[in-house]
């Protein structure tokens, strides 16, 4: 398995990838071509998103937001920028 960076090194903003299991981040902005679908699933500004766990092979991630659970791949999770992660 290749190593996946934990934080989004190319961008000044942390993304969902910077969350450790159990931590919560607040959505600032969604980037990239897949924006619309993510917005429709509730990843809009101000939404609190918690990382539950990653799948056995490290990808995808299980996230909780607005009272439901959703799986996102790392590359999509990286497009969701958050304010700094906090422990819930």
């Amino acid at each position: 398995m290749h190593a996946v960076p934990l934080s989004n090194s190319g961008s000044p903003q942390p993304s969902l990838l910077s969350l450790a299991p159990g931590q919560v981040g607040t959505v600032l902005r969604v980037q990239g071509g897949f924006r619309r679908r993510l917005l429709e699933m509730g990843f809009v500004r101000g939404t609190r998103v918690r990382l539950i766990k990653s799948a056995p092979l490290a990808d995808p991630l299980e996230l909780e937001l607005r009272g439901y659970h959703v799986a996102l791949r790392r590359e999509e999770a990286e497009t969701v920028l958050i304010s700094a992660a906090v422990d819930a």
Partner: protein, 728 residues
Amino acid sequence: MRSIAIAIAGNPNSGKTTLFNALTGSHQKVANWAGVTVEKKSGTHRAGDQTLQIIDLPGTYSLMARSPEEILARDFLVHERPAAVIDVVDAANLERNLLLTLQLIELRLPLIVALNMVDVARGRGQRIDAAALARRLGVPVVETVARSGKGLAELVQAAIACAQAGPNGAIAPQYGAELESAIGRIRAGLLEDSGLRALTADGGGPYPARCLALHLLQGDSALEARVASAAHNGLLALLVGQREQLEAALGEAPSEAVADQLFAQASSIGAAALDRSAEQTRTLSDRLDHFLTHRWLGIPIFLALLWSVFQLTYSAAKAPQGWIDAGFAAAAEGVRALVPLPLLQSLLVDGVIAGVGMTMTFLPQILILFFLIALMEDSGYMARVAFLMDRLMRTMGLHGKAFLSLFTGFGCNVPAILSTRTLEHRRDRMVTILVLPFMSCSARYQVYVLFCAAFFASHAATVTLSLYLISVAVALGIGRLLRRSLFPGGGAPFVLELPPYRLPTLRGLWIHTWHKARAFVQRVGTVILFGVVVVWGLYTFPRQVPLSRDFEHEIAALESAAQGAAPGRARALGRRADELRIALQQEQIEGRYAGRFGKWIEPALRPLGLDWRIGVSLIPGFVAKEITVGSMAVLYGAAASGDQVEDAGIHSRLVRKLRATGGLTPLAAYTFLVFTLLYIPCLSTVGVIQKETGSWGWAGFSILVSLALGYAVAFTVYRAGTWLGLGQ
């Protein structure tokens, strides 16, 4: 008596299908939406003197026409204008579900919200004020628990009242000053254009003008094509201009700004109606997931579950299989007694009853397998399987969602190929379609069952699991190759809801299983019956075959000699006569068309340790894999009247015959199973591949690849096994 049309809309996992099943019961039919292969389910419900025609729309998160499901749901609502729409909202997941509700309100249809699964929400400590929700939305809200039927009578009454009262929804969602002014300008443009005005409600058309303007602003390509085709250039220019202006002003595309605004409203409405103060943070579902999607345990648990599914399917089906078997054996006896013409008797007994009867004995297994698959789907476990397997699937060039299609392929490749329509990217779809024929369907499973009983009685589940693993390995390997060579490039993103685990309803499981079982029986009655009769013909003609000696005479002589002989000598003579009978049958089969064909391809099968009789049964397997088994029953004479075996069952007799006279070592039998698994997609599958890829080229490609690969893998297995000393 009047009939009114009511559509059911809602998010996936909102309990929509359970509600539909509860309302319509057994009065439902499943068809495809015109032109696409998304299932269209409709049914009727009687309420007093009124008949409701209920249409279950595909589950969608939004109506913004991105996926085939969304396009269907929206087009149906806009163009068919049902008398009322029931929006099923998951009470435990209020905010996200309300997004669709707000989009539905834009359509200006009579709308009722079914606040479903209120029991689950309450169990989690969430309290929802339905009256407050109804006030904020301006539509009736009825609390329901679809699985127990609670609130359904009130829901139906509300829907009927709503249908009579006409469009409701006190508030239209608001999108902020910039968006609103753009919507207003486009709306005015639409109403000024004589051609487009006819599309709007103001011009007598189906679309509320504001809603059409909103959808166009968000860049709905299907709608835009309609506008462009009518050459309304003025409006297109206005549209593009407004979008650019907004993007500059807001810093994001209008479609995204709209979603932002909708969610803000959904959140504020949800927050006003929802009391979360007593909410539990860790539910039973979370605790289950701790193990079921655990980093180390998740995949082993999944494999163990898969193994138990196959094991249970074997063991639980045994008894009913025996009854069906005995039933067909009795039918064969009856036909023998009633039909005097030898050729007709042979057609009915050795062809129709042996072939169809053999296939029908698998009905219990099919029922159990589909029941268990439905159980995994309805309980929410399937979504976890996609979650567990996505990384692996992606290594092989497939989308995690495709795992669901591949899993359906274990049942039948045909619906599985149809289900790839849920994949958004063409590359993902093509690779999944071409890989699917390698998934071991339930028809192939029937061959495993037969051979396991004959050769691997004590290791049936292990042998079967190994075949499924080969199936998956080949499918994924081919997927990777295709991805590297013919379909390079990235796939669609992966967003998959993991709904809470739910106890499925028996009614839902039964409806699911019943539709599959009915399709299976229909196939037995049509394609398989035809195939079996053709095989019987190949096996029966030409009637006269030159024989190497006068078997009949020699057998008669042996038997008359046995009459007066001492018991020991009589037994020896009887055995000799039986050997001659078998030799006679073999020579007869060899001389007939089937045998000639089998002999012709035998040189190709020898390296696999297989003889011509097995070869003969592979040919009709192209028509449908089930016939492989049915035709073996014919080829090995399992229903032959000359058979003196005390046990009357066709199945058990075929098992014994295969073991006794099949001439196969266990290794050759396993090689045959591997070859059967891979060698060719069945006729129906080839037809669907052609239809879904729109090309005979891809269908032919699929046949050639599977023939070559099936042979190569079977050859490797046989040679490796021989080298390891397993050939005895």
